[in-house]
Symmetry: C2
Subunit: 291 residues, 2 copies
């Protein structure tokens, strides 16, 4: 049986229901985090929580007290689902709405009509990225839709996720693994479900949050781990030509870890095979994550 | 008691629940339409349906057969709720998801795992726009976040509605009634819950859909009604200075109808009072809508 955690209880996934008036459903007023639980352990869970908290501030959602026990919830959920290696999604919404716009700025962070945040956790096997993808490397296309870096939502993992979803589907139907977004100024931002990195002249580079990159938890970890792989690292404004002129490139997210990126729009990145620095960084990341 | 219509049945609003795995909740994969039902009658309901159908194509959602009986559903909902003048919101989502990305382009418009669209209708009194707002006129601010006209979502009334919601809240906390968006090129697009029009030299002008204007049903009606008010009408690329240099300006949506816009960022539009052409257009619109 597949279980989910919903507002304090574990229930059969097929039976889990939320209020039809939930602002998460009506307007996408909510957030999510996706991470990997291996033997009940989540790497950098506290950073996922910190990002969730920042997003909750932007969206005017109060953090439920249950998040204090998140470690235990994740462990029990994975155990109930019989998953040794789980992809876990946490969803937090603003809860039932009265269909009236509520003023966040006025300090009403919870609705006087009684909107209580909805907290949902779902788990499934972490099988999205088979080992052959790491050996062969992933492909990406650059999609025409731009990442809107002028919106606070570009820095928040919100339930307004359709641009990502449609871009990913566009990539898949073009035979590619991932979709990359440029921002409204034509600068590289991030992927539909990943951050993007390149290695050039012994340095690790990734687009800054100001250019529309989601502040990924794994992205942050890689910027710190670079030193251990003998690389400098920094945020840098990049364009698509920088990718194609790079020594190596890779994608990151909390489920995939470090995934080599070997072609963009059908053009190989460097040799078109996963690079050495990428391999070293993946090993360092996996050692830390599985530690 | 407040009723809602949910997937074929009328239920107590407080008891209405949707699957926690609904793609509308998890990703905002869904659409909505808001309209006004006066004595059970909805002006231009078929155009709302046409827009819904177009959006469903973009998002890969199959239209439920129940929409064929929408007139009756709306009438019964308003009656059950005891609303002679109702603001009705229709929500259509992609339904329960397996958390796996599904390929729309591959022609899988419904999930093979059994995702069935969710159809929800909610009603409340149409009291958002009191008569004094029409007499005094509304105020707007231009918000810093841009409308992303590069996204297909700018042409679809989707559940990814947070930019609109946050912009509206920003306007309200600044003491204004509405937020106006420029697009990524700095051109005028639309309002957070309205389209924007200006009258200049006997012509009615409104931003084209290509500039990020949502193809509003009331917007379309106004472009047609203009002739009856002795005005030409056309779509035109506009900037914020055009608004301030206009003879008159107004906002439209299906609940408000035609709402005079008399100030932008604290600067009066023309005399700072509702204009004559706006009054004539409102009268024409209301005659048609209430006819």
């Amino acid at each position: 049986m597949t279980w989910v955690y919903l507002d304090g209880v574990f229930v059969d996934a097929g039976q889990a229901r939320v209020a039809a008036g939930d602002a998460g459903l009506l307007y996408g007023r909510g957030l999510f985090e996706t991470f990997r639980a291996r033997r009940g352990r989540v790497y950098l869970l506290e950073r996922h929580l910190a990002r969730l908290e920042a997003g909750a501030g932007t969206l005017g959602i109060e953090l439920p007290a249950a998040l204090g026990g998140l470690w235990d919830i994740v462990r029990e959920l994975a155990e109930r689902c019989g998953l040794d290696d789980a992809r876990v999604r946490l969803t937090l919404t603003a809860g039932p709405s009265t269909l009236r716009l509520r003023s966040v700025q006025a300090g009403l962070r919870t609705s006087p009509e009684g909107g209580r945040p909805t907290l949902l956790l779902q788990a499934r096997p972490a099988t999205d990225y088979p080992e052959r993808m790491y050996q062969q490397g992933a492909s990406a296309i650059i999609v025409p839709v731009r990442r809107n870096e002028t919106s606070p939502l570009s820095r928040v993992k919100s339930l307004n996720y359709l641009d990502n979803l449609l871009a990913r589907e566009q990539a898949r139907s073009a035979g590619a693994d991932e979709a990359l977004f440029l921002n409204t100024q034509g600068r590289l931002a991030d992927g539909s479900a990943s951050n993007v990195f390149l290695v050039k002249g012994g340095e690790l580079l990734t687009p800054p949050v100001e250019d529309g990159a989601l502040p990924g938890v794994t992205r942050g970890a890689l910027l710190e781990l670079a030193k251990g792989a003998g690389l400098g690292s920094r945020e840098a404004t990049l364009v698509s030509d920088d990718l194609l002129g790079a020594d190596e490139a890779f994608l990151t997210n909390a489920v995939a870890g470090v995934l080599p990126l070997v072609s963009v729009d059908g053009v190989p990145v460097s040799s078109g095979a996963p690079g050495e620095a990428t391999r070293r960084l993946r090993a360092l990341y996996e050692a830390a994550a599985q530690g």
